[in-house]
Subunit: 229 residues, 2 copies
DNA sequence: ACCTGAACACCGTTCAAGT
DNA sequence: ACCTGAACACCGTTCAAGT
């Protein structure tokens, strides 16, 4: 990284800054994303970043939105597929992408989801729900409910991880959780302790899909959401 | 705050430290909770805190658990009430308590929910779900699903707030959200823009209860969860 | 307009003391 | 055992310059 000479022409771009931020997120976790760290990666003085973003919150907001942008949108575009399958595919894709950099969700807690990619995901959700036959108000509510579920599920999963970077394979995470719950005092929390064996499936894709199916059942039951399949 | 003389006897307690942390959380938000700030409030050198907690993460973990401990447990203890009402009351109480200090949820993202109060809440959930007639595995999954929902819902609500401290009245939050969505470009996101009017109810208690009802519908439909009422 | 060095007011944490 | 002052390696952000 050769430090560029000072000059009036742009040495950086917003995308370079976001790429550097993403690299820090992947390598050091959410707390490792710093203005000074980004500047160091780009071979630039820390305050140079403020030419492109007003403050750190703006950088984090753009970073969160760029993570959401990694979700491909082709696989949900086929209206011939049953609506439950389309929503499930979208939810799984979102969860997968948010789990890749484990710290990404932690950033979402402090930043409103206003960016173009967040809006695009919401728009896709509304399209599928409308195609499923939901009235506009029910579709809006259902979209918010599904967003809530994905965000909460990933947040809970990430809270269990200790290391930044890509999470370990599902098998290891299940084993770690099982041993953690083995220490729950059965005298005080009998049901939680008894659940320790079953609990192994909690942080898996299977549990995510189980919960999603309950929600979709509830949506299909409540409204006119059973037009397809 | 008179600075106490150095000495071998305990000048502090874990509870005092948590109280000071809670005060900082309420006044300055999640980012305002610092070891140095806590020490300053207690009239003590910053490193004195490390006699009581190994590091900042431990303080935050205990703080999160103490917030969960504020949820009273009497109102869910009556098995004569229908199980849906009991779960709804518990979920509403959790949401209310987590919304009081808006920054509290942001902390939950980085801390595993292992504390005694977190376990007590989980235990209560499992009891009610068992009373509702769910098999142990279904009860465990449903408990995790409900926890996910509450956490995700509060996280999304808090992300919209800008100020730390107690959130403004629901009416103001609805209005703020409505004006924010009025700027969504309808050309690119037609459905999101069209939803702007309906959207007013999103961050309200009503939307929270709507989503919870869908989930409870799904749970009742899937298993044997319709024993009562 | 864009970048620089320097500075300000903060952090978490460690370490060698003092009692 | 518990607290202290001092220090280390960091932060985000601002400001007066330089080109």
């Amino acid at each position: 990284m050769t430090r560029s000479r000072p000059g009036p022409r742009r040495a950086l771009s917003e995308q370079q800054i976001l790429d550097a931020a993403h690299r820090l997120l992947a390598e050091r976790g959410a707390e490792g994303v710093s203005i000074r760290g980004i500047a160091a990666q780009l071979g630039v003085a820390p305050n140079a970043i403020y030419t492109y973003f007003p403050d750190k919150a703006a950088v984090l907001g753009a970073l969160v939105d760029s993570v959401l942008g990694r979700v491909g949108r082709e696989c949900f575009a086929d209206p011939a597929e049953p609506w439950r399958d389309r929503i499930t595919a979208l939810a799984v894709a979102l969860r997968t992408e948010l789990l890749v950099d484990a710290g990404g969700v932690a950033l979402m807690g402090g930043v409103p989801l206003n960016g173009p990619n967040a809006l695009a995901v919401g728009e896709t959700l509304l399209e599928v729900l409308a195609a499923a036959g939901l009235e506009p108000e029910a579709a809006a509510r259902a979209s918010y409910l599904l967003t809530t579920y994905v965000l909460g599920a990933v947040s809970l999963e990430v809270a269990e991880l200790e290391q930044p970077g890509p999470p370990p394979p599902e098998g290891e995470r299940v084993a770690a959780r099982a041993t953690a719950f083995a220490t729950v005092p059965a005298a005080h929390y009998p049901r939680s302790a008894a659940v320790a064996a079953t609990m192994a499936t909690y942080i898996t894709t299977e549990q995510f899909l189980w919960g999603l199916d309950r929600i979709l059942d509830g949506l299909a039951q409540s409204g006119t959401g059973t037009r397809t399949a």
